[in-house]
Point group: C2
Chain length 327, copies 2
C-alpha cells in the first residue's frame, strides 16, 4: 500500500470486512463452482510475468456475478424472500439473480436494457426469471425497478453497490489466494466496482503486501478518474466493447477501493479486442471482452509486472461469438 | 467387453500394452500438461449422463497429439535424432512434432497439405519447424515425405500408426482415470485411430469392465465400417468439418481397436457443428469440431449413456474461429 490512497469512508457507511467474505464463502459453498486456475506459457512470455488466471468464465451462469447474487439471496430474511426479488442488469448479474433465485425457489424479475446481448436475455429467461425491458442507461433502469417495487413490493438485489454483493464477489480472490498463495499482484476489472472491492478486501487481509490493481477501458474510465480525484466522478456515455464495465462506480465500492487498491489503469478498445481474441486462440477459453482488460493492461505495459506472480480474475464468458467475430 | 469384437492381431504385429503407456507417461511428465477435467450441468441435463471432459484442448500446442509426438521423440536413439526428423500432418500432429523437436533441440520438417488451416501452418512455423507444402491427400503426403527422406536421410515420426504414438496418446486416458477413477464409459473420436487405440489399452487395463466407445463423422466412417466388417475398409474422400478425423485407420490401431473397443458410432455434420458451438457457448472453452464428435453422439442418442459416468476426451482447440463462424 505504501500509505497512499488510504482515506476513511464516510462515517455512516459500514464497509464489509474479511469476515463477511468468509461468511459469503460458507453460503455459496456447494452452490457456486470452485473455479480452476489456468496458466499460459504464451502470455507469460509476452508479459515477462507469471500469470495465474482465475476462470470465473467457468462459474455458474458463466460469470463471477453468481457469487454475489447467490450470497445476497441466501442472506435474505424470510420476509424479504417472500416479497419476491427484483434487480436490474445488462446481463451477467441478471442471469446470476435468476439462477440463484430459482435454486432457492424464489420468483425473480430482471429489468434489462433493450440493447442487451440476445444470449444474455435468453439466458435470464431460461433460468425462469421474468424479464422487463427498458431503455438503456443506469438511471432509466433504476427508475423502472423503483416503479415495479412500488407496484408489487419486491425486494431489490442491487447489482454491485451493497455489502453482500461485495462480500460474495470477494470469494473469487479468497479462492485464488488459497489456490496460489504466493501472489505478488492481483488484478481485476472495474465497472461498478463490486468485484474490485471484494477482491481488495480479501487480498489485503490475506496478503497485506500484495499489489491490488484495477483495470478499466479508457472509454469508460470513471473509476480511474475517481481514484485520482478522490471523489466519484460522473461516467460519460461509455462507448466500450467491454459491456460489463459500463456501470458507474458504486459509493461503497469506491470507499473500499480508496482504502485498499494501489492503482487503476486504463486500456484502449483495440487492446481489449486484440487481447480477447488472443485469449480465445491461445488459451482455448471463451472470455467476454470485459475479462480481457487486466491482461490487456499487462500486454500494453500499463502496469509493469515483469518477474512478478500475478493473479488475474477472468470475470466471465458470456459473449455473442458471432457478433464479436463479425464486428 | 462381453466377449465380442475380440480378435487376435496379425502375428507379426507387436501391440503396445499398458506398460508402454506408463513409460510414455514418465517420458512426457514435465513436458506435457496434466490437463484438467471439466464438468457441465447443461450437458449432463441434456444427455442424462454424468460427463467428465478431459481437456486436451489445453494441452501443449492445443491438442492431445503432443503426447504421442513428445514420447516418440523422447524415445529416439541418438543416431535417429541426429538424422533430423520429418512427419506429415494436416495440423495438430505437425505442431506437436515441431514443438517436441524444438524442446529437444532437434530440427523438424513437416509436410502439410496446401489446404491446411492458416492458424495451423503459422503455428508449425512458429515452433521453428520447416514446412513443406504438398497437394491434399494422404498418399501424396506420404510420397512427399518418402522423397525427402531419400534425399536427406531424415527419421520419420508417423502421425498415428506406431506403438510410441499409441502409447503417448494413451496417457490422456491414464490421467483421466486417475482424476475420475469410477467411469462406466470412456469415449474418444477416431480418425487414424491412435488416440482411440491408446485410450482403449489404458482404460481396459485400469478398468476391465469399462465400455470403450469410438465416435466418427458419418461422412468419414471408415473406422466404423472396418470395425463391423473386421477388415480395414478404404476411406472415401472425406467431406467433414472435423478435419482432424479425415485420416484412414492405421493397421496397428485397428488391431488394438478390434481387441478392446466396444463400439464405434457415427454422427452427422450438422450435429458436429451444433455441438461445437454449444460447447463454446455453454462450457466457455474453444474446441475444434473433431472434438465434438463423441458428445454429438451422446446428444443424438447414438449411444445411450443415461445414468452412466462417461469420460469424454476433448482432443484439441486449434480452430480458425473466424472461418468457422462465418461458415
Amino acid at each position: 500500500m505504501n500509505g497512499e490512497s488510504v482515506k476513511p469512508p464516510a462515517p455512516d457507511v459500514r464497509l464489509p470486512g474479511f469476515a463477511d467474505i468468509e461468511r459469503a464463502a460458507a453460503h455459496i459453498a456447494g452452490l457456486a463452482h470452485r473455479t480452476p486456475v489456468l496458466t499460459s506459457t504464451y502470455f507469460n512470455d509476452r508479459t515477462g510475468a507469471e500469470l495465474f488466471f482465475k476462470c470465473e468464465n467457468f462459474q455458474k451462469v458463466g460469470a463471477f456475478k453468481f457469487r454475489g447474487a447467490c450470497h445476497a439471496i441466501c442472506a435474505l430474511t424470510p420476509e424479504q424472500a417472500a416479497r419476491g426479488i427484483i434487480t436490474h442488469s445488462s446481463g451477467n448479474h441478471g442471469q446470476a439473480v435468476a439462477l440463484a433465485a430459482a435454486m432457492n425457489g424464489l420468483q425473480a424479475v430482471v429489468v434489462m436494457p433493450k440493447d442487451s446481448a440476445r444470449v444474455k436475455l435468453d439466458a435470464v429467461r431460461g433460468y425462469g426469471a421474468e424479464v422487463v425491458l427498458c431503455e438503456p442507461g443506469t438511471t432509466t433502469r433504476q427508475a423502472a425497478v423503483n416503479a415495479l417495487i412500488e407496484r408489487h413490493g419486491y425486494h431489490e438485489i442491487p447489482p454491485y453497490d451493497h455489502p453482500d454483493i461485495i462480500a460474495g464477489q470477494g470469494t473469487a480472490a479468497l479462492e485464488l489466494l488459497e489456490q496460489v498463495p504466493d501472489l505478488d499482484v492481483i488484478m481485476a476489472p472495474v465497472g461498478g466496482g463490486g468485484l474490485l472491492a471484494g477482491t481488495a478486501i480479501a487480498a489485503r487481509h490475506l496478503k497485506p503486501a500484495i499489489r491490488i490493481i484495477g483495470a478499466e477501458p479508457a472509454n469508460a474510465d470513471d473509476a480511474a478518474r475517481s481514484f485520482r480525484s478522490g471523489q466519484i466522478e460522473p461516467a460519460a456515455a461509455a462507448r466500450t466493447i467491454a459491456d460489463g464495465l459500463r456501470a458507474t462506480l458504486g459509493v461503497l465500492n469506491f470507499a473500499v477501493i480508496q482504502r485498499h487498491v494501489d492503482d487503476i489503469v486504463t486500456v484502449s478498445e483495440q487492446a481489449i479486442i486484440d487481447t480477447t481474441r488472443a485469449v480465445w486462440a491461445r488459451m482455448k477459453i471463451i472470455i467476454e471482452p470485459s475479462c480481457a482488460v487486466p491482461l490487456a493492461a499487462l500486454l500494453e505495459g500499463k502496469f509493469d509486472a515483469r518477474g512478478k506472480r500475478v493473479g488475474v480474475i477472468l470475470t466471465g464468458g458470456n459473449v455473442d461469438i458471432d457478433r464479436f467475430v463479425a464486428g
